[in-house]
């Protein structure tokens, strides 16, 4: 039956199983689903960043034929409990922060839902939106996080003691010694701009409520369905088991679809209220306005150096502009703790963390969540020091790398780096780019007056997060480790199927799952059907963390799939041996057949499957009927050593990579063009090189465009100006440079397959572009402290430079 042997399938560039149905347009996305009697929802949204809601008059909308219901924020609040996140915060802000996912009495960001309309079709719903009259009393919007920190600042949320909702200082090593003994201290006020992910498909939800069974079924494109079920159930006062979460195809997340649970909850309530299925498909401008944004951060950073480039220490005051609600936060504001010193050896650090509310869209997870910001901080300070020490930016990094012989290396928090070779990573990247030759060309072209820059960035990205990180901001929380869950079944005809408690959003989960199972069961990946989605009633999902975020699939899910495949292999062998009438140790699995070692005598999966399910009368007591294997992989992570001090191992794996960008800046227009772009990443053991390469492409696209194109802009009244793709400059393939990527495989020390996770890149592509622009402008004496390259700003600085 098998078309393969399984040998060496792990590591092959197997073609993607999911491609066919997607390429012929037969994927099943939420909007493809039509249920009987289905209604459509649309949200009335606040045109103000901050306004008291004095009243809502829905009578005009209700008169429009086809409108079924208009639900205001107050009505929602009378039925639902506020979402959990805030209430668990270990600061005094916890009591007053209340997140209903919709404005109640006061709107706190432009685009916040204020009321929902339910109608017979989406056009009527949209028309009705314009007929709901909301009486607003505009309030002063708080937009600058530094002003927001002031005690006298207007409060974003009523009743909070301060807009600074979480503040903590974490210290490691001996900072005074580091700075007093330094030859050079560089200081910068760095700004990481507000940017978001722009998946092709915005949020999409269908909720239907079965009054008889009390079951709320949700079809959505969430990437975090298990956790969502818990949050929604809690807010709707029901058991999580009664919230059935079904997800299948998903038009991209990049972190963004971790944050749709407030909307799922609202649409869920609409279905319960109307007694009919309700579909809500978010529109693009709503997505840009009011899904979730990435972390916007200000750093006051200082780094101490010796004259030879050795880093002695770093201190930074972070002001995290969280927007108006804490959704996943303060995770992004604390994710630096997972990779405190990046790939470098310094050990004296202080981080002063301030999480501040403003009247903007809530920030939450986005690819390289809070980690690319941290890379930006470290790599910017190193870059500045290299210039001041007139040291080559590559050389200063080589000076400070942790070396392979020091692995496993314990960083100052107690994070245990799981192998890797940082110097080789940078060496190979420089070789790919032709670094020396480019420096030479740069010298020549500079003489001709050209502005050429070469930017280097090396970044760490910790994956496989320890759930005990939450103990940092939830005192006494007893939660640790991480798990993944996988189930494999072989039916009575020998067909193999598998399901995993993840959500694939272009990650090729079907393909790599099949590869791992094929290798263990000596089959071809084509022999294995992988359930392309998640259904909380069918998928054996492990815990509320299940889903896809933080690049955990390659870690916990691979562990789960491997474990389940090994259990299944054992079962097949035992059933086969029983059928062959000999002890298990005398049989082997070869091309999907149980074979008596050293002979040709064998039984195939088809026979084994049939016997295990259909001839159970003959089975001995100690042989379990059927062929089902389930495994929960338990990542070897311990609780934090001291949460209040920020000590512990926060991640199972520590991936890293390097990027080099070469840019030219047009002196007359300020425009930056990429002449060359090279990126290398170490995912540990690579299950499928084609998939890994594709992931690196995405990471480059995402992060180089964050530097050059994408930026969310609010005006002085707090209105988002970039609320369409005309003004939010998401790039297309035509804007990407020629991508030159490579994978370097240094097996991770603590995962079952040696995989390390990948594809978020730690911001290396972004920082490489910014550093390249800095390098290009350095002869003009220009320092750039922002992560965003704005042509007009660049031109102004060129014109304003005294070195012209």
């Amino acid at each position: 039956m098998s078309t393969g042997t399984g040998k060496g399938v792990i590591g092959q560039a197997v073609k993607r199983k999911e491609d066919k149905r997607l390429l012929i347009g037969k994927g099943i996305f939420v909007d493809d689903i039509v249920l009987p009697e289905m209604l459509f929802a649309s949200f009335v949204r606040s045109p103000y960043a901050h306004a008291r809601i004095k009243g809502i008059d829905a009578s005009g909308a209700m008169k429009l034929p086809g409108v079924v219901s208009v639900v205001t924020g107050e009505e929602f609040a009378s039925f639902i409990k506020p979402l959990e996140a805030h209430s668990l915060l270990d600061t005094s802000a916890a009591e007053s922060l209340k997140d209903y996912g919709i404005a109640v009495k006061k709107a706190i960001y432009h685009g916040e839902p204020v009321a929902a309309v339910v109608a017979v079709d989406k056009y009527v719903a949209k028309d009705a939106i314009g007929l709901v009259e909301v009486n607003y009393d505009p309030l002063h919007p708080v937009l600058d996080p530094e002003e927001s920190m002031d005690d006298k600042a207007v409060r974003v949320q009523d009743g909070t003691p301060s807009n600074v909702v979480w503040h903590r200082i974490f210290s490691y090593g001996d900072l005074d010694k580091a700075f007093s003994g330094a030859d050079l201290v560089v200081k910068s006020r760095l700004y990481f701009h507000r940017v978001m992910t722009a998946p092709l498909e915005p949020y999409a939800v269908i909720a239907s409520f079965d009054k008889g069974g009390g079951i709320l079924t949700i079809n959505s494109n969430s990437s975090h369905p298990g956790r969502d079920a818990f949050l929604i159930a809690r807010s709707l006062n029901m058991s999580p088991n009664k919230v059935r979460m079904i997800c299948q195809d998903n038009g991209g997340s990049f972190g963004n679809k971790n944050n749709m649970y407030p909307y799922i909850m609202l649409v869920g309530y609409l279905a319960m209220k109307t007694g009919r299925p309700v579909k809500w498909i978010m529109e693009r401008n709503e997505h840009l306005l009011a899904s979730s944004h990435g972390n916007e951060m200000i750093y006051y950073g200082e780094m101490a150096f010796k004259n030879d480039g050795t880093i002695l220490g770093m201190k930074a005051r972070m002001i995290a502009d969280e927007g108006s609600e804490l959704r996943s936060e303060p995770r992004g504001a604390t994710n630096w703790i997972r990779q405190l010193t990046s790939v470098y050896r310094f050990r004296n650090i202080q981080m002063d963390i301030n999480c501040v509310l403003t009247n903007k869209c809530p920030t939450a997870s986005m690819r390289s969540y809070g980690k690319q910001q941290h890379s930006f901080l470290i790599e910017s300070l190193i870059e500045k020091a290299a210039r001041q020490l007139t040291m080559d930016p590559a050389k200063i990094r080589f000076k400070n790398f942790i070396l392979p012989k020091e692995m496993p290396y314990k960083n100052p928090t107690g994070g245990v780096y799981d192998g890797g070779d940082y110097p080789t990573c940078l060496k190979r990247t420089l070789k790919m780019v032709g670094y020396e030759a480019w420096r030479e060309r740069q010298r020549k072209l500079r003489e001709e007056g050209k502005l050429i820059g070469i930017g280097i960035s090396v970044a760490m990205e910790a994956y496989g997060g320890n759930k005990s990180q939450m103990a940092l901001w939830r005192k006494g929380l007893k939660s640790s480790g991480d798990t993944g869950s996988a189930m494999i079944k072989i039916d009575a005809e020998g067909h193999v199927s598998a399901s995993v408690d993840s959500m694939s959003m272009g990650h090729s989960h079907e393909t790599t799952t099949a590869q791992i199972i094929a290798e263990i069961l000596t089959l071809s990946p084509d022999d294995i059907d992988v359930f392309p989605g998640f259904d909380s009633w069918i998928t054996a999902y492990g815990e509320r963390g299940s889903g896809s975020y933080g690049s955990r699939f390659g870690i916990v899910h691979h562990g789960a799939i491997l474990g389940a495949a090994q259990k299944m292999r054992e079962k097949i062998l035992r059933h086969g041996a029983f059928m062959l009438g000999i002890p298990v140790k005398k049989v082997d699995l070869v091309q999907g057949r149980v074979r008596v070692k050293g002979t040709k005598k064998s039984v195939g999966l088809k026979e084994v499957g049939f016997n295990a399910w259909m001839n159970t009368g003959v089975l001995p007591k100690n042989l379990e009927a059927g062929l089902v294997a389930h495994h929960v992989y338990n990542a070897p992570l311990k609780p934090l050593e001291a949460p209040e001090l920020g000590r512990g191992n926060f991640s199972l794996t520590y991936s890293y990579g390097a990027a080099v960008a070469v840019v030219e800046i047009d002196r007359e227009t300020g425009m930056t063009s990429l002449l060359k772009f090279v990126c290398l990443e170490d995912p540990g053991k690579c299950i499928n090189p084609m998939v890994c390469e594709g992931q690196v492409h995405g990471q480059i696209g995402h992060q180089m465009s964050a530097a050059l194109f994408e930026r969310l802009i609010y005006d002085e009244d707090g209105r988002l100006l970039t609320s369409t793709f005309k003004d939010y400059l998401a790039p297309t393939a035509a804007d990407l440079p020629k991508l030159e990527t490579a994978i370097m495989e240094t097996p991770a020390l603590f995962t079952p397959l040696g995989t390390r996770g990948m594809a978020e890149g730690g911001g290396a592509p972004l920082v490489a572009v910014v550093n390249a622009v800095r390098d290009a402008l350095s002869p003009l004496g220009i320092e750039l402290e922002n992560s965003y390259i704005e042509p007009e700003d660049i031109l102004k600085r060129i014109r304003g430079s005294s070195h012209r």
Partner: protein, 291 residues
């Protein structure tokens, strides 16, 4: 983003289209490729109650040459202009502009006539048609008339077209043998509308002295801009850095770009200057190539 509801007509000929437009007046709009109108309707910036689709009208999509002029039917899509051999040999400046418009999908559907009638201040065809001194044929209840391109644009998204008129054809005089043209556009991202753009069509004599020049600028004000003041500086002169610098200065004086998220008016003036000088140099070198 969902448009408000509307009624839809498919016109069989220009007269019928014009009649419908007259009948429904302000509430009716022509739809051609829909590449500007539909986005406007989805944002509910345009709320037409009646759409008159002219794509089914025969004989409005063509590119040919007659009486020293290239004539392009209003329904000709950007892609056809991009791929036309006649355009490539007779009006290479159009060949510069066409591939810069939007993306392949937009170019497959969007029409030359639609782009001109939409009159986006940052549109690409406006400056080109101005530099080429084109004429626009319009048909309405009162018959046919021809408008000079320089008189066509009134304001942002507004033209001299009467509510019942349909643009049917664009007439572009073919420049002489010693002429060269170039269109340069600066966009923030591939296929974006221009932050600034400049079209230059230049004719030089044997000695390299400028006999004739047409300059059109995009995103330089509320309408595409013809810049006689800058043209005057170049006409009768050899192309030199000094002359072009002065022409660029005049252009930036004449321009009053609309500030937006891509840049302030001041910044756009600066890039207009750079683009004019570069486009003129390319146009001049193309004159030489053709000789």
């Amino acid at each position: 983003m969902y448009p408000a509801s509307f009624d839809y007509f498919q016109a069989e000929n220009v007269e019928q289209a014009s009649r419908l437009l007259r009948e429904y007046g302000e509430e009716a709009r022509v739809i051609a490729g829909g590449q500007s109108l539909i986005p406007f309707m989805k944002y509910r910036l345009a709320l037409p109650k009646y759409l008159v689709d002219i794509r089914g009208i025969p004989g409005l999509s063509f590119i040919d040459k007659k009486d020293g002029c290239v004539r392009i039917g209003a329904l000709t899509v950007h892609r056809e202009i991009e791929e036309s051999d006649l355009i490539r040999s007779q009006l290479p400046i159009m060949r510069d502009a066409a591939p810069l418009i939007g993306d392949p999908q937009v170019r497959n559907l969007g029409t030359l006539g639609g782009a001109l009638c939409h009159a986006d201040p940052a549109g690409d065809w406006g400056p080109v048609v101005l530099a080429l001194e084109g004429r626009l044929k319009c048909v309405g209840a009162n018959g046919e008339r021809e408008l000079e391109a320089k008189d066509f644009f009134v304001d942002a998204y507004s033209t001299r077209l009467q509510p019942d008129e349909v643009l049917t054809e664009v007439v572009l005089p073919v420049p002489g043998a010693k002429s060269g043209g170039a269109y340069l556009k600066l966009a923030r991202r591939t296929g974006d509308f221009a932050m600034a753009s400049v079209a230059v069509q230049l004719t030089l004599d044997e000695a390299g002295v400028c006999q004739h020049i047409g300059i059109g600028a995009g995103a330089a004000g509320r309408t595409p801009l013809r810049v006689p003041d800058a043209e005057g500086v170049v006409r009768g002169e050899k192309i030199s850095a000094t002359v072009l610098k002065e022409a660029a200065r005049r252009l930036s004086q004449a321009a009053d770009p609309i500030p937006d998220l891509r840049g302030s008016g001041e910044y756009k003036r600066e890039i207009l200057k750079a683009l004019l000088q570069r486009a003129a140099q390319i146009a001049a070198s193309r004159c030489k190539e053709r000789r």
